[in-house]
Symmetry: C2
Subunit: 290 residues, 2 copies
């Protein structure tokens, strides 16, 4: 069991101390997420998920649930794979995240009169497929406000069935694009920096030149909402969470139990997805815990 | 004359191309400012200013002028020193910045009832003098909103007297602190990270754990408002700016001329300080240029 996952420069808080000596896994190959965790002194094992990230977007009534569902699939896939590979060395915490960009989150602040354009349609942007696609995205985002949503999910073992708990948040930040010249956007796309990133820009890189301001957690725009993650990370090992429904329960009993038990706790911005894998059947159980 | 100040990864914009082959100097020893410029592909010579940063804060009617005045003194000191040392190799652009933190910029968003505390006074925070001072600052900022103000100044040569032009902005960002526990603040102060920084915290480091959200340019909170700097940086070498008053003019003629000429230009958020060194006599001439 590795004990080097907490680096010496980490703040000596109770939460960090609880992670020391634990097996912490990041289910993401993103160098940005690794870098943000490293700033705060956490250096998890990296085990990228093999989940294909192909959930049908149109099946989500609330689009903010889409990155949460993708991140949940990633985290559960990695957790189950690692438990199966070595049941005696199950991870203590698996972290997964998925970031998407929603265009036109607020009325445009651009100097361009959008009434002269054919239509303004809200789009969900993941990674661009080409430089042309990247250019189209940045032209659509230009002068406007987009919302960056990261689904952040942690999975950790519990004693009752199914053997693990899933907790998640969707963290939202607004990004205000400047009224950038076509020349600047073209130069940015040509640099290739945005090609591997949701929305086609890296706010932490040269893409920062395109952005007027952020309203929210900056790290969330980069790809990992650290300020929300760390206060909760220490919950691992406390083992005091109640399971809000079981995977084995036939619907609607898991849902009902989750709602009943959930009532007994104070609400929190974290919610617990007990049955995300049934999402394809339209059942997604959330219950707030204190 | 060094031509390596523009790195290969810089966006190929007109502004960047104009800086290529120019002598660009950063009048600051801050590794953070150097790092931000480097992200955007600019690697200036580093020539820290010897200006003592001891302007009397109480002499500023508008407190936002204080970091601008400090940055102006830094930039002019370095520019004049380099011209004197080697008149045939004068800098093409000297960049200086000064960052301060103003507490209680907005009504508190804390869960703590401030009506129970003795007083809420707006403070201007520079670097803490000790860990105790750092702790006091962070306790004052906790749960509230502070304003981070960077005075950014560029100096570049012109043909008319006094031989250089000064342009400046004060960039403002709001930082919303979370309601952090005393334990977290103590652990942060103990880490020592905030000791060398205005306000006593590094948002780009472990101090990010203390912050709920930013409203504005994130790089400005780190110490350099890059998004405002780069669109204007390319003005160097254009030599099309008008001098708005002369250092040699006796008051009030410099002021009057600046106002008269300034009227002929479109306004801009950049203003031109032609006579900042007379600030101790209460004269500070600003004129907007297009």
């Amino acid at each position: 069991m590795p004990s080097s996952n907490v680096l010496p420069h980490a703040l000596q808080t109770l939460a960090i101390k609880k992670l020391t000596g634990k097996r912490v896994v990041l289910a993401s190959a993103s160098p940005r997420r690794k870098a943000i965790l490293s700033v705060f002194g956490l250096e998890p094992e990296i085990v990228p998920s093999t989940f294909e990230e192909d959930l049908p977007i149109s099946s989500f009534g609330n689009i903010h649930e889409y990155p949460v569902a993708t991140a949940t699939h990633k985290a559960v896939e990695v957790y189950e794979r690692l438990v199966e590979a070595d049941p005696d060395n199950a991870p203590d915490l698996v972290i997964a995240a998925d970031t998407v960009v929603l265009s036109h989150a607020l009325p445009s602040t651009s100097q361009t009169s959008y009434s002269m354009l054919p239509e303004v349609k809200q789009e969900l942007y993941e990674k661009p497929t080409s430089k042309e696609d990247n250019f189209r995205m940045l032209l659509d985002l230009n002068g406007g406000v987009c919302e960056v949503v990261t689904g952040l999910v942690v999975v950790y073992p519990i004693l009752t069935s199914p053997g693990y708990m899933i907790k998640s948040i969707d963290e939202r930040s607004l990004v205000y694009f400047a009224d950038n010249s076509r020349e600047l956007i073209e130069a940015y796309v040509e640099s290739g920096e945005g090609l591997a990133l949701a929305g086609g820009f890296a706010i932490q890189g040269r893409g920062g030149a395109l952005v007027r301001k952020v309203d929210g957690d900056y790290n969330n725009v980069v790809g990992f909402p650290a300020a929300s993650f760390f206060p909760t990370a220490g919950h691992v090992g406390r083992r005091r969470f109640r399971l809000l429904g079981h995977l084995e329960d036939p619907p609607p009993w898991g849902l009902l139990r989750a709602l009943l038990i959930g009532k007994r706790f104070n609400s929190s911005m974290w919610h617990t997805d007990t049955d995300v894998r049934k999402h394809s059947f339209g059942v997604l159980v959330h219950g707030d815990v204190g």
